[in-house]
């Protein structure tokens, strides 16, 4: 990519600036640009075809369903179900009498807490472990490799395993907290009630951490040693060096991880669904579990589609906020 960039930009000054009507960018070298484009289009064609069929068209279809009254009674009509106008959206966002309204607000609140805590845990924990692993120590290679293991354990296994570990009577967590160390006097119930949100947050952090750690470790290794040495000679301690050298250099990586991890966490489905069941209960119901349950168990497909559209808009808003906050970091990196 770098070579292409330099070719096009270096030929840039020779070409007079394009008038808008021409709408073409500076053509690549070697006059036959169109033939080259044709080859590129042929290369992307299969992927484009699949993405149109599975991503684009169904997403548009979902947008249509959001305005349809598709439920148990109209299900046989499929896409021909009667129009509902904005009623699905009104019911979700404003109708206090509608149980779906409360369900949605509750799930949105849980998802917000889940996302903020999980992402904070993953990013901060990942950075701290990356700092630890960035030092010279015996067994460095094997420790770095083994640290990735939780990320490879499938989410549904994570849910089953932690669901077992959270068991109130025989689970290892309570055994350690109550029986072995005596930190707590009563055995907490993890899989029901307010604790159940923590029962899905902690395994999510555990599984997500290694990926972030890996990215940050790669970033740390790219920080020139001379910077730290020079600062150390000038009398900067490790903590000041972290805040004035390491952290600013990692900022673009942190920004990208923040973006990805928020989207990933907000769309979490597997861990609550396997650990706590199709209805995780009011304390741990996330947006995705709510939408899937209302759509497929209660046949409220119009509701599900409308709620999905709202979630998508909220995520787009997050991307806009993110771009506004980090645009500069992304540009300086290039």
């Amino acid at each position: 990519m770098a070579s292409i960039d330099t070719v096009t930009t270096s030929s840039g000054p020779a070409v007079p600036p394009d008038p808008p009507a021409q709408a073409g960018r500076a053509r690549p070298r070697r006059g036959h640009g169109w033939r080259r484009d044709r080859f590129a289009y042929a290369l992307i064609a299969p992927a484009v075809l699949f993405m149109v069929a599975i991503h684009l068209l169904p997403t548009l279809g979902g947008g249509v369903l959001a305005f349809k009254n598709l439920n148990t009674f109209t299900f046989s009509q499929l896409f021909g179900a009667p129009w509902a106008g904005l009623r699905n959206f009104e019911a979700i966002l404003f109708d206090d009498a509608n149980p779906l309204h409360n369900g949605f607000l509750n799930a949105a609140g849980n998802t917000a807490v889940y996302t903020v805590v999980t992402v904070a845990g993953v990013l901060i924990g990942g950075l701290l472990i990356a700092l630890l692993l960035n030092r010279e120590f015996p067994g460095q290679r094997i420790v770095r490799t083994l640290m990735l293991a939780p990320w490879v354990v499938p989410s549904f296994v994570v849910a089953v395993l932690w669901g077992f570990m959270w068991q109130s009577d025989v689970g290892i967590v309570n055994k350690v907290l109550v029986d072995y160390t005596g930190l707590l006097d009563d055995r907490p119930v993890w899989l029901l009630g307010p604790n159940s949100l923590w029962a899905i947050i902690i395994p999510s952090i555990w599984r997500g951490l290694p990926f972030c750690m890996l990215i940050f470790l790669a970033g740390l290794q790219a920080v020139p040693k001379e910077l730290h040495e020079a600062a150390a000679i000038d009398g900067a301690g490790p903590i000041r060096r972290f805040f004035y050298i390491t952290l600013p250099l990692l900022r673009p990586l942190i920004a990208v991880q923040l973006l990805i991890q928020v989207i990933y966490a907000a769309y979490q489905f597997t861990i609550p669904w396997i650990m706590l069941g199709t209805n995780p209960g009011e304390h741990a119901d996330l947006l995705m579990t709510l939408i899937v349950r209302q759509s497929f168990s209660n046949n409220l497909f119009g509701f599900g589609a409308a709620a999905s559209v709202i979630v998508m808009l909220a995520m787009s808003l997050w991307v806009v906020v993110w771009l506004a906050a980090f645009r500069r970091d992304l540009e300086t990196q290039r």
């Binding site: 299969p46 025989v170 709620a307």
Partner: protein, 279 residues
């Protein structure tokens, strides 16, 4: 100086401690799968006499072999197709500034922003419609799941492959084309063999994600094409007290991906961190 050595030693110890804490749940999974059900429900583990009872029992409780075979076929085929499509699309993005380049690469990332449920519902309804009105059967078939997963994991695979192609010097293709290779010939005969580690890494990466996918498979299948996560869910529904077998099932479903990951770890890590070191 001694103080510095003490800190260093303390940080080393902390590192090993963190590793132990991170690996402990996996150790607990393995340990529990080697116990009898009675030991698990009473909490009295007998670490020194492991038993493989649970591993033989789990295949009988639910038809785990059926789910396992489905997972292997669906995820393997989908990862293969996704890798092939991503290889060609990733090459186009890495090498050519075609018209729509930027729009296309933004669209590829953009797909990751769509909540699964938004395109899941129409896909489900579309699959049902196809079953009712045409002879095409995608609902609850392996082919249907392979199609969905191929599309699903192609975008990430494209970014993966692109970073591998960017690391291959252009001169290789230029030389091949001087020697009379066509563009496509140069891609297939020169670039792809050089990108072999990238192809393997992309395949495994897509496979790992497909193996873990639950949202779509729980909606688009009901008996014939169900994969391991559904098997685990059915297991919990029917045999909630069989913890030992459940843990054994967890081990069995983790082994393929752990082996695949560690066998190709060097290339995988390169692909995953490619964006980290350079834009």
């Amino acid at each position: 100086m001694t103080r510095r050595r003490a800190t260093n030693w303390g940080l080393n110890a902390l590192t090993y401690l963190v590793l132990i804490v991170m690996l402990a749940p996996i150790g607990w999974l393995i340990l529990s799968s080697l116990q009898t059900n009675g030991a698990l429900s009473s909490g009295e583990y007998d670490v020194f006499s492991p038993t493989f009872e649970a591993f033989s029992g789990m295949w009988k409780s639910v038809d785990f072999g059926h789910y396992f075979a489905n997972s292997l076929i669906i995820c393997g085929a989908a990862a293969l197709f996704a890798t092939l499509f991503a290889a060609s699309a990733g090459y186009a993005l890495a090498r050519f500034r075609f018209r729509g380049h930027r729009a296309y690469s933004l669209t590829v990332i953009g797909t990751q922003l769509i909540p699964g449920s938004l395109f899941l519902l129409p896909l489900f309804i579309g699959f049902i419609w196809l079953r009712q009105n045409t002879p095409i059967s995608l609902y609850d078939t392996r082919i249907g799941m392979i199609l969905v997963y191929t599309a699903f994991f192609t975008p990430v695979a494209i970014y993966f492959m692109r970073s591998f192609f960017q690391a291959i010097p252009r001169d290789l293709e230029d030389a091949a084309m001087v020697d009379g290779c066509s563009r496509f010939g140069a891609f297939v005969r020169i670039v792809l063999p050089n990108a072999a580690p990238g192809l393997v890494a992309t395949f495994i990466y897509a496979f790992l994600f497909a193996w873990d996918e639950l949202l779509f498979v729980q909606a688009l299948t009901e008996s014939r094409a169900e994969t391991i996560p559904i098997g685990i869910h059915n297991f919990i529904a029917g045999y909630a007290q069989e913890y030992a077998q459940l843990m054994a099932a967890g081990v069995v479903s983790t082994v393929p991906v752990i082996v695949a990951f560690y066998a190709t770890q060097r290339w995988l890590v390169r692909g995953m961190t490619a964006g980290a070191v350079k834009g």
